[in-house]
């Protein structure tokens, strides 16, 4: 990460942002943050970053975006561009965690979380009291997918992006996206089914 995009100093943006004639396609960082913070945050969570690291990772995504704002101009969608950055930052973050095995991170805590979340009440294993509980369960199941499939599935099923948009975000071609998406759905279905069985057994045992 070298700040090559820094060839055009942000000063230009500062000055021009205030002038009546807007500069080319150069978005203001504050606007980008305001509009896309929630998207970046939930994407980072869904890519498997737990609450203990989400702040750091989201900060990094926006710092990279800030530095590379010039690269954005040719792109059609800020969202897909940001997601591409998020993918890389998340990958780097995971690599760092792997080098420090003692550290809690990634998915290690999720199973524990889930045990706490579901009491053996009359609820079925897939009925969740809150959105957050449901999200936690989903994250744990998404962990069973590899990173490529996970990204595609998140964008298609949770962000409702089109396949061409997804192809741009994950920097691959449309056909690859289709095949990853098919595989991802199959695998998630299987994971959900396994989870359901596990939970039903747990409830049955606790009776």
């Amino acid at each position: 990460m070298t700040g090559h995009s820094s060839d055009v100093p942000l000063g230009t943006a500062v000055a021009t942002a205030r002038s009546p004639v807007p500069p080319a396609a150069r978005p203001r960082f504050e606007d980008v943050y305001g509009e896309h913070f929630a998207f970046v945050w939930r994407s980072v969570r869904r890519l498997g970053i737990d609450m203990s690291a989400v702040d750091d990772v989201v900060q990094d995504v926006f710092l990279v975006a800030h530095r590379r704002m010039d690269d954005f101009e040719a792109r059609s969608s800020m969202k897909t561009w940001l997601f591409g950055i998020a993918l890389r930052v998340v990958r780097d973050h995971r690599r760092t965690l792997r080098r420090k095995p003692a550290q809690l991170g990634g998915t290690a805590a999720v199973e524990t979380d889930m045990d706490g979340v579901h009491d053996a009440s009359a609820r079925g294993p897939l009925e969740h009291v809150t959105e957050r509980e449901a999200a936690r369960t989903l994250h744990a199941l998404l962990d069973e997918l590899d990173d490529d499939k996970r990204a595609v599935l998140v964008l298609a099923e949770l962000e409702q992006m089109t396949v061409p948009e997804i192809a741009e975000a994950v920097e691959t071609n449309v056909n690859t996206v289709y095949s990853r998406l098919r595989a991802a759905r199959r695998e998630l279905d299987a994971a959900v089914a396994r989870y359901r069985i596990r939970e039903e057994q747990k409830q049955w045992r606790s009776r």
């Binding site: 070298t2 820094s6 000063g11 990094d60 897939l126 449901a134 989903l138």
Partner: protein, 296 residues
């Protein structure tokens, strides 16, 4: 195309809104980003003061960028000034951060990227709060304190970060959002700062950042008196502010600049006592010694 089981579909629907951040998350992360960007600019500036060497082209540009951003969040005038400043100082900063993910401080190196000092700095801050024994040079574990806080109290006030300073609001919020004309690097002379330009981005932290930039521009102009005045103003307006450490360092630099070496040394020892692991510590320790006092 669907092809998902009913169970999966139901889970996805239930979980769809479960990952959205709170307003507290939004403002906390925003403050941290502003801090990392702004302190990168300030770090470059401080080093410029210490060595008076014009930087290489690449990293100078990098400094300019980091300075610029701070300004997106703050005031136009201050911004323009500090861009020039960042360009002067960037090349000589004494830290390198290998990647945004790694954030490992290597003691003597070159700034290759924007906000180098910053990234480390913020890590250091986080570590200081969470695990007092972590050394600044070690790869620091991500802070857990903030996240824990946010999970425990999802509805946090929109104030930035931990220990928001008891602040008097920045003076005279602009009625119109565009009071600042794009100024061509006019040095800021008045001790009072230009109020932040855009109301929605105004925060105590922005005001502190603007003050810090002003202090550093004074240092770069070898105006120790003005730097001291700005530091004093910060102390008055933001007692316990988030950038207190930076202003204490600034004060030491300013005293050196003025040749008030004894006072500078007192300030430096106090600083080192209170912030032994600060990334600014080495510079503060050598503030008057590193270069001949006359060039500082």
């Amino acid at each position: 195309m669907s092809g998902l089981s009913e169970d999966t579909r139901a889970l996805l629907d239930a979980a769809r809104d479960g990952d959205d951040p709170s307003e507290g998350d939004r403002s906390r992360v925003r403050a941290a980003i502003a801090r990392r960007i702004a302190i990168g600019a300030a770090a470059g500036a401080a080093v410029a003061t210490a060595s008076h060497v014009a930087g290489g082209a690449t990293s100078a540009a990098a400094g300019a960028v980091s300075a610029g951003t701070a300004t997106v969040a703050t005031a136009g005038t201050v911004a323009t000034t500090s861009i020039a400043a960042g360009a002067m100082g960037g090349g000589t900063a004494a830290a390198i951060v290998t990647s945004l993910g790694a954030k490992i401080l290597v003691s003597v190196a070159i700034v290759s990227a924007v906000g180098a000092g910053t990234a480390t700095y913020v890590k250091h801050e986080a570590a200081k709060r969470a695990v007092p024994t972590v050394s600044a040079a070690a790869p620091v574990t991500p802070s857990r304190s903030m996240e824990t806080a946010s999970e425990a109290a999802p509805v946090r006030p929109a104030a930035p970060v931990v220990a928001a300073p008891p602040v008097a609001p920045p003076p005279a919020l602009p009625a119109a959002p565009e009071p600042v004309a794009p100024v061509a690097a006019a040095p800021v002379t008045a001790p009072a700062i230009t109020p932040p330009a855009a109301a929605p981005t105004t925060s105590p932290l922005d005001a502190e950042v603007a003050l810090l930039q002003e202090a550093h521009s004074a240092l770069r102009a070898n105006d120790g008196d003005r730097a001291l005045r700005v530091a004093a103003e910060h102390g008055r307006r933001f007692p316990g502010g988030q950038l207190g450490e930076e202003f204490e360092a600034t004060r030491v630099f300013a005293l050196c600049e003025l040749g008030r070496v004894d006072e500078a040394r007192d300030g430096a020892s106090r600083f080192l006592r209170e912030h032994p692991r600060s990334p600014l510590a080495p510079r503060v320790a050598n503030a008057c010694e590193a270069n001949a006092p006359s060039t500082f």
